[in-house]
Symmetry: C2
Subunit: 207 residues, 2 copies
Amino acid sequence: MIRLLVADDHPIVRDGLCAMFAAAPGFEVVGEAADGAEAVRLAVGLRPDVILLDLRMPELDGLGAITELARLGVPSRILVLTTYDTDSHVLPAIEAGATGYLLKDSPREELLRGARAAARGESVLSPSVAARLLTRVRTPPPPLSPRELEVLELIAAGNSNRETAARLFITEATVKSHLLNIYAKLGVNDRAAAVAEAFNRGLLVPR
Amino acid sequence: MIRLLVADDHPIVRDGLCAMFAAAPGFEVVGEAADGAEAVRLAVGLRPDVILLDLRMPELDGLGAITELARLGVPSRILVLTTYDTDSHVLPAIEAGATGYLLKDSPREELLRGARAAARGESVLSPSVAARLLTRVRTPPPPLSPRELEVLELIAAGNSNRETAARLFITEATVKSHLLNIYAKLGVNDRAAAVAEAFNRGLLVPR
DNA sequence: CGCGGAATCCACCGATCGGCTGATCCGGAT
DNA sequence: ATCCGGATCAGCCGATCGGTGGATTCCGCG
C-alpha cells in the first residue's frame, strides 16, 4: 500500500487526485495540504511514501517546500504535479530533490504509473518535460545573474539605459555592459527580443 | 436538480468537479467532455442547465466552444472555470456569451454558489476577475489591430524596423507608424516595454 | 455619401542604442 | 596563491529608434 500526501491549493484538484488514487488499488491518501507550509508540516508527521506536490501554492511554494523537506531529511519521494512545464520550474524542482515531474493534463493511467514509480524511487517525467530537459542538456543554459535580471526587469518596465542606471545607482556604461551580457546569454540582439525571450524562458513573469 | 456538463481536458480536474458536485445536494453531473468539440457535441444532445467549461482545451478551445454553442442556439448557461484571469481571456469569453467566470482556485463553496447562480442565469465573477473587468471599464481597452500585432510579434522576435518591414512587404516608415500606435495603445514608450506589456496582457504568449 | 479608422507611405532630427575594446575590483573556487 | 566570473566603469561610432507632421487609399457604418 503506497501512502500518499496530496498538496495543491486548488480544492478541485485535491479532490480529483484523492478520488482517483482512492479508487486505484494499492494507494492510500493519508493527508491533504492546501499550501506548501502545510505540506511540509504534514509530511514531517505522516512520513508518506509519496508526496504529490503542486508548484504554485500560497505561503510556501512547491520549490520552497521541496527544499525544506530535503533540509528536514524527510525521506518521502516527491512527485511534482503541475500545469506548467516552463524551463524555469522544471530544473530547479528536480535539482531541489523532486523524484518526478508530471503535468496535470496527463492521462489518469500515467499519473498512477508515475506515483507507483516514484514510490519505488524511480524518476518519472512527462514527455514534454523530458523533451525540455533534453534540449536544455544539449544547449547548456546560461542563467542570468541576479543583477542582470534586475536590469532586464527595469528595461521591460520601459526604462531607458540612463533611467535604469539611475534606479540601480550605477552608470549607464554598466547597464549597457549588463545588457550586452544578457543579449549574449539569451541569444538575441536587442532589448525587445531580450524581454520576449525572458518571458518565454519564464525569467520574467506576467504581473 | 441542476444538470451539469463538465468540460475540461485535465482528468484530475474533471474528477474533482464531478466528485464535488455529485456530493453537493441539488446537482447532477450528466456528462463529461475532454475537449471543446466533445463539449459542444454533448451539450447539444444533453441540454444541461449549466456547462462548466475550461478555456484551455485541445481540438476546440473554450472560447470557440462558447461561440459554437451560441451559434447552435444551445440554451445552457456557460460557466467558465479556468486557472487564468488574464485580460485577454476574460472579456472575449464573456462577450461570446459566458454567464460567469470563476477561477479554479476558488473555494468549494464559491464554485457551488457560482453554479447555482449560473443556473438561475445570474452573472458570477471571481473577485479578481471582477476587479480586472472594472479597471478595464475605467480604462477603455484599445485593442491592437491584427496588423499591429503582427508587427509587434516580429519586433519581439528580435527584428529591427527595417527587417520587420521587409518581412511584411511594407516600408520602414509604416512599421514605425504602427509602432507608434502600439506604444500609444499599450501606454508605453519603447519596443521593449511594448513587448513586456503585450505579454502581461496576454497579447503575446510564451511559445 | 461623408466620416472615421486601419493601413499604407514620406522626410527629417535628435536621442538612444548596440557593438567594440579595454580596464579595475572583488570574492569565491581551485 | 591563483584564476575566474560578476559587477563596475570609460569612450567612441555608426545604426537604429522615437517623435513630429503630414498624406493617401480603402473600407465599413450610419
